[in-house]
């Protein structure tokens, strides 16, 4: 039994934590927010230099050729520091889509550039105020040209390329587009967490290339979503732990009625519940990490479990961190709102908690998984 990361992976995580601390920790997210930027370009450049965008890219395409577990430990640290960079869009999604489904020509062209930072990728799924399904997609492809509008597309201002989920004559396709194409209009959309940026992307006869087999786009995107859900869950756990740490530190230094507020059971029990939620989420993430890295058929169930558990943990920890801080927690000055907002955006970014609970139960119906250990 070895449900743990290797010493090398733990070392990588340690290095990542030191890196984000040295680069300013939460202040990067705050700067992006205060200065209405799309991302922290400088931080992103340094991440690229560290080679993290190439973690999963095979050595033949100039990457590090490492596995998903290395990505999991980096994700946890990105989450802990609320790093305002397009890592999830470009690495969890775009790069994975190419590694799994793209033709050799596309891989040879784009993967080395993703490693070097010349290319930043993202993905477009949502079209309206509801969950995207195979039957309600409007963005369509005909003769390799895309038309229609996607919304809530992360990092589309900074990205050079994008994978788009579209309706096709054979069902659903994944399509690769170059965002430099003049037929594409990219417009920023205001959102709750301004340390991250989202966009409306309009296509008008936009040239595109097929990724993966025609008509198989829906099951392919589900697989990419499952993979990304595990990595996002690690980010969420990192954020949860960070919010819990912040609440703990404040409860030790703040006095009320002549004593530390952390000595009151009302606060202790709140923090204990946060610890319980983080611990469950983290253990579910380890299960997800195992399923992801071993390409297990349990991935859909493991991903949904990690996702739901981590979404709950981060939302609980971020809201109760504000509560623990009292009035200070509601000010712009304190960092509590950074966690609160990021937890909300992460909780809907891959589909809402309800959507993932539905996926979880659908998988439980299919498998007869026994959970007794």
């Amino acid at each position: 039994m070895n449900l743990d990361f290797s010493d090398d992976q733990k070392y990588l995580q340690d290095e990542a934590r030191k890196f984000f601390d040295k680069e300013g920790g939460l202040s990067n997210a705050r700067n992006v927010m205060d200065n209405a930027q799309e991302a922290d370009q400088d931080l992103w450049k340094k991440i690229v230099e560290l080679g993290w965008t190439g973690i999963r890219v095979p050595e033949a395409y100039e990457g590090l050729g490492l596995g998903h577990l290395e990505l999991c430990v980096i994700a946890e640290e990105l989450g802990r520091s609320l790093a305002p960079v397009p890592f999830s869009s470009s690495v969890y999604f775009f790069t994975e889509a190419l590694i799994k489904f793209a033709s050799e020509d596309i891989k040879l062209d784009l993967l080395p550039k993703l490693v070097s930072g010349e290319v930043v990728g993202t993905y477009a799924i949502a079209e309206d105020m509801h969950q995207a399904t195979e039957s309600n997609l409007n963005v369509a492809v005909a003769s390799d040209k895309l038309s229609g509008t996607k919304i809530a597309v992360p990092d589309a201002g900074m990205a050079s390329h994008m994978v788009v989920v579209v309706k096709s004559s054979t069902g659903t396709d994944l399509r690769l587009v170059d965002l430099a194409d003049a037929s594409i209009t990219v417009t920023p959309q205001k959102n709750l967490d301004t340390s991250r940026a989202f966009f409306k992307v309009e296509f008008q006869d936009t040239p595109s290339k097929l990724i993966g087999n025609a008509g198989e786009g829906w099951s392919n995107i589900q697989h990419l979503l499952d993979q990304a859900a595990v990595l996002f869950a690690f980010e969420q756990v990192g954020g949860s732990q960070s919010a819990l740490d912040m609440a703990k530190a404040y409860s030790m230094e703040r006095f009320a009625f002549g004593r530390q507020i952390g000595s009151y059971q009302a606060i202790k029990h709140k923090l204990a519940d946060m610890y319980i939620a983080v611990t469950l989420a983290k253990s579910n993430c380890y299960y997800g990490a195992w399923a992801l890295s071993s390409e297990s058929s349990e991935l859909p169930l493991a991903a949904a479990t990690a996702r739901v558990s981590a979404t709950k943990a981060f939302q609980l920890c971020s809201k109760e961190n504000i509560q623990t801080h009292g009035g200070n927690g509601f000010t712009w000055e304190y960092d509590c709102h950074l966690f609160y907002k990021r937890s909300k955006v992460l909780s809907v970014l891959l589909g809402s908690e309800a959507t993932w609970k539905e996926k979880l139960v659908t998988n439980l119906e299919k498998t007869n998984t026994l959970v007794k250990g």
Binding site: M1, D4, S6, Q265, K268, D273, I276, W290, V361, K372
Partner: protein
């Protein structure tokens, strides 16, 4: 990252497995442990099984060889436990003795006493119980009032203990009592072991909310009326009772662990089954949402345990993550029991004439006890907050007071 044994662990597992296959029957289904038998019968089969295990070295496998163990590592204990759990073997009798009294005797008893008591305990010849809680000392167990007065080479014990599992069939017990009410609460306690057949001990089973009394490992009140204990049966120094008790309580938290009973599988099976109209509960969105929540909890606990085992497997000390187990599992048990009853709508409250309470009804009836036993939900949250997160202790109104001056009513 994998779930596999190392070659050594696989070999050890095979050895356990081989012996179990020769000596016990595999469980045919996971739902029920034992059929209803009388207490006497159950004790007899449990003792026979324990002796068999002892003879083969499995009874207390982590103990030194001189006391019948095989000096097994923590991970080997876990592997044995995992394999034994797959077989239909009697349980529920020796856990407290072997899990809590044994370690205390091992640490504090004299060599002569260890020679006398440890092997019979491990063999199941003598059953042990734990006498800590009192009517006025539950979560605040150090507030106990049973007293010990020195009389020559003996101590005279008077008072009452409560919630003593298995006292009605135990041969010996470990006991913490107050030797000096003029000292502060934690300082005036002393620890002993006692022969449960001593004159002056009266055991009365407690009738629980389940309606059961004196069945299985049920709870008891234990009265001490001028009970004599020789000073040689003192464990630790006079006044060190709390220190010794804490060692035991740490072992109790490890021993109590998972709340056994209806879990997500049973909730799933129930939800998937169709009623007379061909409808399955799992079609209901509110049911689906709850199943998802319970699965996240059950699965989270399972892999939390695996993380602990992984640390032990590498010879590392496990992190504090296992501290969440009882809080989460006892509350989940209560919720799932409740769900199972509700699923029957108006008939859910009815108890079957032939089969008795269903497993869901049993879970719902038993869960309130599990949320209290071995540390209430509230105490366990304090433990997580103070010992895991490092938050300050509550200010205590009884701090520094002589025990006799501590207020007990408004």
């Amino acid at each position: 990252m994998d779930f596999n044994d190392t070659p050594d662990q696989a070999k050890f597992r095979a050895t356990c497995r081989e012996w179990l296959e020769e000596n016990a029957e595999l469980k045919e289904n996971k739902s029920r442990g034992h059929l209803e038998t009388s207490l006497e019968e159950h004790l007899k089969t449990a003792k026979t099984w324990q002796q068999k295990k002892y003879d083969a070295g499995w009874a207390m496998l982590h103990w030194p060889k001189e006391y019948g163990g095989i000096e097994a590592s923590p991970i080997e204990r876990i592997i044995w436990g995992q394999e034994e759990a797959k077989f239909n073997v009697p349980g529920g009798i020796f856990e407290i003795g072997l899990g809590m009294c044994g370690p205390v005797m091992m640490q504090y008893a004299s060599d002569e006493q260890k020679d006398r008591y440890l092997a019979p305990m491990a063999k199941g010849k003598e059953i042990w119980c734990q006498l800590f809680s009192e009517p006025a000392a539950g979560s605040d167990v150090a507030g106990l009032r049973s007293k010990a007065e020195k009389d020559g080479d003996d101590w005279i014990i008077n008072g009452q203990k409560v919630w003593t599992s298995g006292a009605h069939y135990s041969d010996f017990g470990i006991l913490v009592v107050r030797h000096d009410p003029d000292l502060a609460k934690h300082k005036g306690l002393t620890f002993f072991f006692v022969d449960m057949k001593s004159p002056g001990i009266t055991v009365k089973p407690i009738k629980q909310i389940t309606g059961q009394a004196g069945s299985g490992s049920g709870f008891n009140e234990v009265y001490f009326d001028d009970v004599r204990i020789p000073d040689s049966q003192r464990l630790g120094e006079i006044g060190d009772g709390w220190k010794v008790a804490i060692t035991t309580l740490m072992n109790e938290r490890l021993a109590v662990g998972d709340a056994k009973g209806s879990d997500i599988e049973e909730a799933l099976i129930l939800s998937k089954s169709k009623d007379d109209a061909g409808e399955a509960l799992i079609k209901n969105d509110s049911v689906r949402e709850r199943l998802a929540d319970w699965f996240c909890e059950a699965n989270g606990l399972k892999y939390t345990k695996f993380r602990t085992i992984s640390a032990l497997s590498k010879g590392e000390a496990p992190g504090p993550e296992a501290s969440i187990t009882k809080i989460v599992s006892a509350n989940k048990l209560q919720a799932i029991g409740n769900f199972g009853i509700d699923s029957g709508d108006m008939a859910g409250m009815l108890i079957d004439e032939d089969d008795g309470v269903s497993s869901f009804q049993g879970a719902w009836l038993g869960a309130p006890g599990l949320r209290i036993a071995g540390g209430t939900d509230e105490i366990l949250r304090n433990v997580i907050a103070e010992r895991v997160l490092g938050l300050p202790q509550d200010p205590r109104a009884d701090k520094g007071l002589a025990f006799k001056d501590i207020p007990t009513k408004a």
